[in-house]
């Protein structure tokens, strides 16, 4: 398969994952940045044994980088007060989106994509036990929602 064909196969999945990690407005930029970097390397997408989890790891790394940048921004914007509360789903989503990127990725892949811990571990490039640790930490933070 050519790079273009591989990308066509995975682009919607990547976009969904990126949207879950960085939000609607930044997702396309994240996908573009990650794919552009990989395509520019020798071998491109077709040189990868399994491009989709590789690209998903890249998206998670990009999300983590932006999360750090966002944290710096938040410290300045905190001078303009807290963000406005949203509706019920917004509240749930706000809680999820406030999680660190690894925990958010684990929650999304578990609750939305229905991945198993070993499948998530492959995507995130870590051990299944680490995935379960991320989920444990996330569930503890989301407890006020999950227990209602």
């Amino acid at each position: 398969m050519s790079d273009a064909e591989i990308y066509a196969d995975v682009r919607t999945d990547l976009m969904r994952y990126a949207t879950a990690l960085v939000g609607v407005s930044d997702a396309a930029d994240v996908v573009s940045s990650v794919v552009t970097r990989v395509v520019a390397r020798p071998g491109g997408l077709s040189g990868l044994e399994d491009p989709k989890p590789y690209l998903m790891r890249g998206i998670l790394n990009e999300a983590r980088m932006r999360h750090r940048s966002r944290s710096r921004q938040e410290r300045v914007l905190a001078r303009l007060g807290p963000e406005l509360p949203g509706g019920e789903h917004d509240h749930v989503l706000d809680l999820v989106m406030d999680l660190p990127p690894q925990q958010r990725a684990a929650v999304f892949l578990t609750y939305y994509e229905q991945y198993t811990a070993p499948e998530i571990a492959e995507v995130m490039g870590c051990r299944p036990a680490t995935v379960r640790r991320y989920l444990h930490l996330a569930r503890r933070k989301l407890k006020e929602v999950l227990d209602e």
Partner: protein
């Protein structure tokens, strides 16, 4: 339980944009710009279309009744008068923080900006701020009218390429290319030193106190009434070793109250105040004044540069 999380993701993904096409990805690759800029280049491509629409449809959407209940939440907005664009943040009571000092100017793209040390920062003003009809002055709640060209001091902070945020207005592309200066509410003060502070005498001002590479510029304020502009930042030294304050990217050499000296470990000992170390956050009152002379030249300050003259007790900042 888990359904609620899934529903929340459903809502989010319902608004998901289409993935970039292969052509968009590969056209981004053609650029030899650094990685981050390639991302921006793509975002610019997408955002450019959006911003064109925003600019084309940008109409005055001011705060409405800004004289009403001050606790009401006001949305951010953009105001345009005679080509001058005013960016205004969401209403809040949050206070000041880092020091932003500079001259009010109309920057690239028409955004009302603050110019400091030769750099322009498009400013995001506190809610309720409005432009005059000719776009040449701004009214900021809690302050007086500020004319383009005037020197101001404010609290706030700097943001580079901020993500979209409900507390910020839509930032026009031309203005978003610069770092933004976020102006905190109730923090804007016009410069009060159109005339030099009362403590500025003629020759011999200021004294220079040396300690190795470090040097303190020491004035003659001795506790009397002084200027009250906020001087705050982190105690630091510039490349010439002159002690001053750093607030964000802005460094300002300080002229200290009379009697200020170095301690045994190069602390700054201010009579009647406390002892401060480099890296301490400090706050004081005083004024900003353009200066000239050998003592300032040796601190790397060309004639006409502003220094911060402290005319109050100095205390540790928050």
């Amino acid at each position: 339980m888990s359904d609620r999380i899934k529903n929340a993701f459903d809502d989010l993904l319902h608004n998901m944009e289409e993935a970039p096409s292969w052509d968009q990805v590969t056209s981004a690759r053609v650029s030899d710009t650094p990685r981050f800029n390639r991302g921006l280049a793509f975002a610019g491509g997408v955002a450019g279309v959006l911003v064109l629409g925003i600019v084309a449809s940008m109409v005055f959407s001011g705060p409405g009744d800004v004289t009403g209940d001050s606790s009401a939440t006001g949305a951010p907005y953009v105001e345009e008068r005679e080509g001058t664009i005013l960016l205004v943040a969401r209403q809040t009571d949050a206070g000041e923080d880092a020091l932003i000092s500079g001259r009010l100017t109309i920057g690239v793209g028409g955004c009302l900006s603050i110019e400091t040390d030769g750099a322009e920062y498009a400013a995001v003003w506190p809610w309720g701020s409005t432009l005059s009809a000719d776009g040449r002055s701004i009214s900021v709640p809690g302050s007086e009218n500020l004319e383009v060209g005037s020197l101001i001091h404010a609290g706030g902070g700097y943001l580079t390429a901020p993500d979209s945020d409900p507390r910020l207005p839509e930032i026009p592309t031309a203005c978003a290319e610069s770092t933004l200066a976020i102006i905190a509410p109730q923090s804007v003060r016009p410069d009060q030193t159109t005339t030099p502070p009362t403590t500025v005498p003629g020759s011999g001002w200021p004294d220079v106190v040396m300690s190795g590479f470090l040097r303190l510029l020491v004035g003659s304020w001795d506790g009397g009434p002084g200027h009250t502009a906020l001087i705050t930042g982190v105690l630091d030294a510039n490349e010439q070793g002159c002690i001053g304050i750093r607030a964000g990217e802005d460094f300002r050499v300080v002229v200290w109250p009379g009697g200020t000296r170095f301690g045994d470990a190069n602390q700054v000992v201010v009579p009647g105040s406390d002892t401060f170390r480099l890296g301490d956050q400090i706050m004081a009152g005083g004024g900003y004044v353009p200066v000239s002379g050998e003592a300032f030249t040796n601190c790397g300050l060309p004639s006409g540069s502003d220094v911060a003259v402290i005319e109050s007790e100095v205390r540790t900042g928050d």
